[in-house]
């Protein structure tokens, strides 16, 4: 369980995040959505301990500020918005970096690396140089690296957390769905996913819980159908929205009304 209480973040004396509190139980796919500048990435960076904040963030009752980095690494993986590599690693070697803090001797590390690459659809890319891949492929390699770090969604009886910062923004539609399915599966197997997302339709289709941010505060929180309503979306995004339930596919559809 991830619990966030009274999270406040100030950057350069300006309060960016205003008193956010929420809980994400195990097996939950939680998406953070909102317009540009609403504090999505800042919230995620606070939750991963990258930036200073006031308030409490706990994963499985461990405060992330006081827990040793190696212990945190066993509990949660973080996929940044973009990653740069300083040296010419192969794809296999990048994914192996995900395991550098895993000390359990009994684990089949090679098998996890192979499975992680297979999962993101890059099974035959092990020997390729990371720098020679396209942006979308690099993003998937990074996801494979994070998956290799926290491969088992439940570890010693505790759910692990995957933090994904705009994981699908540089991908084509097929791979967007693939990544969303990986995240969904992670939650179905008992883990927790906290993702910053922009695509409202994919968010609605795959998430269990949505945190809709507006100007650094929670505008509304809950299940997709309760949060992604016409009224909420129009209040947050300031454009006219059309929200419908497509009966044929039983899927939620959110489209801006272009006028």
């Amino acid at each position: 369980m991830l619990s966030v209480s009274h999270l406040n973040v100030s950057l350069a004396r300006k309060q960016i995040i205003k008193d956010i509190s929420f809980e994400v139980p195990s097996g939950t796919f939680c998406s953070i959505v909102g317009p540009n500048g609403s504090g999505k990435t800042t919230t995620l960076r606070a939750l991963t301990g990258e930036i200073a904040y006031q308030g409490t963030v706990q994963i499985n009752n461990l405060d992330i500020k006081t827990t040793h980095p190696a212990e945190m690494a066993a509990l949660r993986g973080v996929l940044p918005q973009s990653s740069q590599l300083a040296f010419p690693f192969t794809v296999y070697e990048v994914v192996r970096l995900g395991q550098l803090s895993r000390t359990d001797m009994l684990l089949d590390h090679e098998e996890i690396i192979a499975q992680a690459l297979e999962k993101v659809g890059l099974a035959n890319f092990g020997h390729r140089f990371y720098q020679e891949l396209s942006g979308g492929e690099q993003q998937r390699v990074q996801l494979a690296r994070v998956l290799a770090q926290v491969w088992e969604p439940v570890w010693h009886g505790m759910p692990r957390v995957l933090f994904l910062d705009e994981p699908i923004s540089s991908l084509d539609i097929r791979h967007q769905i693939q990544i969303m399915k990986i995240a969904r599966q992670y939650c179905d197997d008992g883990g927790i996913v906290v993702a910053v997302l922009h695509d409202l339709n994919l968010t609605a289709a795959y998430s269990d819980q949505i945190v809709l941010l507006k100007a650094g505060a929670i505008h509304s929180i809950g299940q997709p159908q309760n949060v992604l309503t016409k009224n909420n979306l129009e209040a947050v995004y300031h454009c006219t929205m059309h929200v419908s339930q497509n009966d044929a596919h039983n899927q939620f559809q959110i489209t801006p009304v272009l006028a």
Partner: protein, 375 residues
């Protein structure tokens, strides 16, 4: 594998439930096998190079005598007294010093490049060696006057310690200046390195100005970089600094690998970044300081060796650092042997040779990696 949800309902996950994907053959992207082979080959090459270096020089000591001397651990009766003196008092200390310095320069280069996440960072280029040099020169020049009490207190270690402190201060300043919010700017690092190097150079200049004739001769030779004047005393002064750091570097490999993804990600991967950075900076400064203290400014070994090895075995520091130690030692021994032979019985400062090969190589990397500079 099945995992249990909090509600007690058991569901099967996709984790190891089907056939295994990984084939027992090494993964095509895994270069650790090459790394192991190359490391063994280089170890053999280092032995061969050492024997070659021991048996070549102005005085004649034939290769058979050298071999029998080494393989009997100095107990051989086949060599004459003259050869024994040449080997024991001149060449053996020089070869051992060459191995220590070469390994130390290459490893500090690789460690610093890992810390700054850039293939161009090298203690010699970014001013750390100049800072260490300033520390050393101040004791060479002032060690008998103003700084005499300190020099006496630290005994044979006073020059290495001064060099270490000079290197430490420069590395620390450099990191503070060029790194903001976990991002190291390469352009800032190189330019700040030039500035710090120039400042240290100016202070060194003042000391050179007040030095007497004998100190001046020491200084000139020392500034160009040389292994001449290798003695057992010098080895005993720096080996206790360099050897532990070479071993420590094995423990830095994990952190350096994590750092290649950036500071934030290194933290997410379980590295205590602040502590790691501090240890790394101290290690680089100490080994650069020790090397500079006895051999002066031998440049470019720390750039050329790690770069070549990254091309061959990849950038994984677990394999890169030991390989750097070996190749650095080999390269420096070869350069030193050339330096001793090329104008025998006189000799060239080794720094001239490493710079002649290294500077064009540095330019070549710079041109290939121009985009990295984002100037």
């Amino acid at each position: 594998m099945t995992v249990s949800r909090s509600g007690g309902q058991r569901i099967s996950g996709p984790y190891f439930n089907g056939s295994k994907l990984h084939d027992p053959k090494p993964n095509p992207g895994d270069r650790s096998v090459y790394a192991h082979i190359l490391t063994i080959l280089m170890f053999v090459a280092l032995l061969v190079t050492s024997i070659f270096a021991l048996s070549s020089g102005a005085a004649e000591v034939n290769i058979n005598s050298t071999m029998s001397y080494i393989f009997s651990f100095g107990q051989s009766l086949e060599i004459n007294a003259y050869e024994r003196v040449i080997l024991e008092t001149i060449r053996l200390p020089r070869v051992i010093l060459g191995i220590l310095i070469g390994a130390s320069l290459a490893v500090s280069g690789a460690v610093m490049q890992g810390l700054f996440r850039n293939p161009l960072a090298d203690p010699g280029i970014v001013g750390v060696a100049s800072g260490a040099g300033l520390g050393a020169v101040s004791f060479i020049v002032l060690g008998t006057s103003y700084l005499a009490p300190v020099a006496t207190f630290f005994g044979i270690y006073h020059v290495p310690i001064a060099a270490f402190l000079g290197g430490l201060l420069t590395t620390f300043l450099l990191y503070r200046v060029s790194t903001r919010r976990g991002h190291t700017s390469v352009a800032t690092m190189l330019l700040a390195g030039i500035a710090l190097g120039a400042l240290a150079g100016a202070c060194t200049g003042i000391l050179v100005f007040i030095a007497d004739d004998e100190q001046l001769r020491d200084l000139t030779f020392w500034q160009l970089g040389s292994l001449a004047g290798a003695t057992w005393t010098k080895i005993f002064a720096i080996a206790p600094i360099i050897l532990p750091i070479l071993f420590l570097s094995a423990f830095l490999a994990k952190g350096l690998n994590a750092m290649t993804l950036g500071e934030a990600t290194a933290r997410h991967l379980g590295i205590n970044v602040q502590i790691f950075k501090r240890i790394t900076i101290i290690a680089v400064a100490a080994s650069t300081g020790a090397a500079v203290a006895v051999s002066g400014g031998i440049g470019f070994v720390g750039i050329v060796v790690p770069h070549l090895l990254r091309l061959w075995i990849g950038p994984d520091h677990k394999y890169l650092l030991p390989a750097c130690a070996l190749l650095g030692a080999i390269m420096l021994l070869l350069a030193d042997t050339v330096a001793r032979q090329i104008v025998a019985p006189a000799e060239l400062p080794i720094g001239i040779i490493t710079a002649t090969i290294g500077a064009p190589f540095f330019l070549w990397i710079l041109l290939r990696k121009r985009s990295l500079l984002d100037l």
